[in-house]
């Protein structure tokens, strides 16, 4: 595989995998935040 083709492949894969990973990280983080119980000692 030539360096130029490899560079485009890495760019394309990194872009979509990075974007997908970031989105799911944020979604899962937000879900955890939403589901978090109140701090101990506070009434439910």
């Amino acid at each position: 595989m030539t360096d130029r083709a490899l560079a485009f492949l890495v760019f394309a894969w990194a872009f979509v995998l990075g974007l997908t990973g970031w989105c799911f990280y944020r979604l899962l983080k937000a879900d955890v935040d939403d589901d978090r119980l109140p701090p101990p000692g506070t009434s439910l």
């Binding site: 490899l6 979509v16 974007l19 989105c23 799911f24 944020r26 937000a30």
Partner: protein
């Protein structure tokens, strides 16, 4: 939502487009179109859907009339019913091929066939006047099975039907695709190595960037792959609550689809074909079309896999199985707007709506099976599945951004957002950049393709009558849906319900 977006085009259309439009350099206009057209349109459709859903509208006619208080608004929304219903019918026919090919992979009917034999195997299925391989009833049987499965899923509703299908189908799709990619990339070199296939796909052709057709092909691919401009995304989004996130969820949908397309779809068919047949043959095959690539070349590749008959069978089941799951998770979404429209406007129960739409799909789908070779399906694919998407997307942007108001549109998208969206930039892109792209795309397609297609240039004389009949059926569907919208709003007015 991701199930809706990931479809047959991710695995059959994208690799061909990339190879034909500059290889690695295709990714530059492709990603620019994703950022400036695809993702903004994704947010527009989600915004339209969530806003319309608050007023009880699950399809574009009602959703448009919520955003723009004008009697014409609901009629513009016909595009969201027309595109989805028309594409649903012919898409299910193509989906039925993937189901049939999954079965024949298990039966081993394609084992040992050469290229000519494989072509005959496909063309006999597509052409009822050539029963040399398949009996005439076989395509009808698999079409009926496919429609039956689709309507069984949608009859169960969103949660128990479509959501459950996506939860099962999407992981299977990704698993099958990942296993096939690993197998393809670890194949021993034959005519070439699989990495030469990737090299062939990603080698940049800088001159391609100067060709407008490459930019338009990239924008077109983004359109098809994200399922924007159909009305399915807005139908699903109508089930969201007012403060549910659409910004991050819409972006995640687009990103998941891109992973399936670029990482998996781009690493399967072309590298596999190059490995066994070389770069020269891959160019010819790519020019032949996505169906030849998927239904002729890939089974030929599977026949040559080391490991014996069970490897050939397993690869065939995984390939056609993943295509089937990619197809069905998209087609059930296409049925949703029409079903929602009938239920919310005419008070029909789910089962009754499903029965009526299924009857229509069986009847009109049979015409596709009978006249596929004469271009009946091509006409629907072009006018509804290609040109119609751009028209619908342009109407969505005009209604949601220009008529509802750019500030309202931006506020709607940012409502409940789990990510930061810069309001000024978003407003600029939605108001000017996305509509500009859409107008250029529509203008180019009108001149380059729509006019020649309309005038039947280059068509065989024996196809012309069938193609006009195909357009006539589409036109009748369009008028019927306009009439149903009119009837629905008369009923609403009589019942004192807001339109």
């Amino acid at each position: 939502m991701a199930g809706n977006a990931v479809g047959l085009g991710n695995f059959l259309r994208f690799p061909r487009q990339a190879v034909a439009n500059g290889g690695g350099t295709f990714m530059i206009p492709y990603f620019i179109a994703l950022l400036l057209v695809g993702i903004p349109l994704m947010w527009v459709e989600w915004g339209i859907g969530r806003r319309g859903g608050q007023a009880g509208h699950g399809s574009l006619p009602g959703q448009f009339s919520t955003l723009w208080k004008h009697p014409v608004a609901k009629y513009l929304g016909v595009m969201g019913l027309f595109n989805t219903l028309v594409v649903l019918i012919y898409y299910c026919y193509i989906e039925s091929w993937t189901l049939a090919w999954t079965f024949v992979s298990v039966a081993g009917s394609m084992r040992g066939l050469d290229e000519q034999g494989m072509k005959q195997f496909l063309y006999s299925y597509q052409n009822l006047s050539d029963p040399s391989v398949h009996a005439v009833w076989v395509p009808f049987l698999f079409f009926a099975l496919t429609l039956g499965l689709n309507f069984f899923v949608v009859s169960k509703g969103i949660s128990a039907g479509i959501e459950r299908l996506a939860k099962i189908g999407m992981p299977i799709l990704f698993l099958f695709a990942a296993l096939l990619v690993i197998r393809v990339l670890t194949l021993p070199p034959a005519a070439a190595s699989p990495w030469e296939g990737l090299n062939f796909m990603y080698t940049p052709d800088w001159a391609a960037l100067a060709r407008p057709s490459v930019w338009l092909a990239a924008a077109g691919q983004i359109f098809f792959t994200l399922s924007v401009g159909m009305g399915t995304l807005s139908a699903y989004a109508s089930y969201l609550r007012k403060n549910d996130d659409i910004a991050l969820s819409g972006l995640a949908t687009a990103a998941t689809n891109e992973t399936a397309e670029v990482v998996l779809g781009g690493s399967l068919a072309i590298p596999a074909v190059v490995t066994f047949f070389g770069v020269g043959a891959a160019v010819t095959i790519a020019q032949g079309g996505g169906f030849d690539l998927g239904f002729i070349s890939m089974p030929l590749v599977f026949n040559q896999l080391p490991g014996g008959a069970w490897v050939t069978t397993a690869a065939g089941v995984m390939w056609f199985g993943l295509l089937f799951f990619a197809g069905i998770t998209s087609s059930v979404a296409m049925a949703t707007p029409a079903l929602s429209f009938m239920e919310e406007n005419f008070g029909w129960r789910r089962q009754k709506s499903v029965a009526v739409i299924a009857t229509l799909a069986v009847t009109l789908g049979a015409l596709h099976i009978l006249y596929y070779q004469r271009g009946f399906l091509d006409e629907w694919d072009y006018w509804a599945g290609t040109f119609g998407l751009v028209v619908c997307a342009l109407l969505e942007v005009i209604v949601f951004v220009w008529l509802f108001g750019p500030d309202n549109a931006v506020a709607e998208i940012r409502q409940g957002a789990r990510m930061y969206l810069p309001p000024r930039l978003l407003r600029f892109v939605l108001t000017w950049v996305t509509p500009f792209f859409l107008l250029v795309l529509m203008g180019w397609w009108t001149v380059q393709e729509a006019i020649p297609t309309l005038l039947m240039r280059g068509r065989a004389p024996e196809e012309v009558a069938v193609r006009w009949a195909s357009r006539g059926v589409m036109a009748a569907l369009f008028v019927l849906q306009l009439w149903l919208i009119r009837l629905a709003w008369h009923r609403r007015a009589a019942e004192g319900r807001p339109g």
